[in-house]
Amino acid sequence: MADFTFWIVVGLTLGSAFMVVQSKNLLYSAYALLFSFMGVTGLYVFLWADFIAVVQVVVYVGGILILIIFGIMLTNKITSVNISHTSVQKGIGTLAVLGIATLLAYMVFSTPWIELANVEQEETTASIGRLLMMDYLLPFEAASLLLLGALIGATTLSRKED
């Protein structure tokens, strides 16, 4: 059952990701992205990453995706229902991407991965909190500064010149 669910989720993720890059309608792309994110969240759950999965939902779905949709709305006429968008250099792009995918896949299959057996599932939130407050305190603070900078920067950039 779990196996079956896993493949369903994988299919959802990759299928909607394909839609994102393929769809001619920009809004459809955005919606497909939502499903792709949800699929990835599911995969996180399969990987026992409960906290990250929640964060993924909150930040990506609740934040970034909304931001992207706002971006679409702000840069297109609201009346046009069909916000079309086309692609360029599709042929050579496909070739190059297939090439790199082949190489990566070759790498994945040819590497003898060491998988530890009998790993116990555990609650991650507490450990992440401890790590953030102890080992990774400096990057954590830096990230907060980065966010502040991004906030100010985004505001400044999108502001109309007076």
Binding site: A30, V55, I68, L157
Partner: protein, 101 residues
Amino acid sequence: MDSLTNYLVVSVVLFSLGLFGVITRRNGVAVLMGVELILNSANLNFLAFARFGGMNMAGHVFALFVIVLAAAEAAVALAIIINIFNNFQTINVDEVSDLKQ
């Protein structure tokens, strides 16, 4: 399903799709979506390695930082896109070719 390779393959495919989007899409917002897919694939890798490396929490922390960065990046990138739109009346990146010699 409980195999590292499965996750890695999913990650590779997701990365390739994102890369394809970044390279081929004309619309700036769509390029941004491709970038988000790439970031997700990277996160997937982090968590997969963490899970099969004995629940190493460092991977989770890194994933968290990636998400933070992605949020910041999305905010700034959209601000830039809006700026480009204000300046060029379009967000098709191939028309914004000021880098040309």
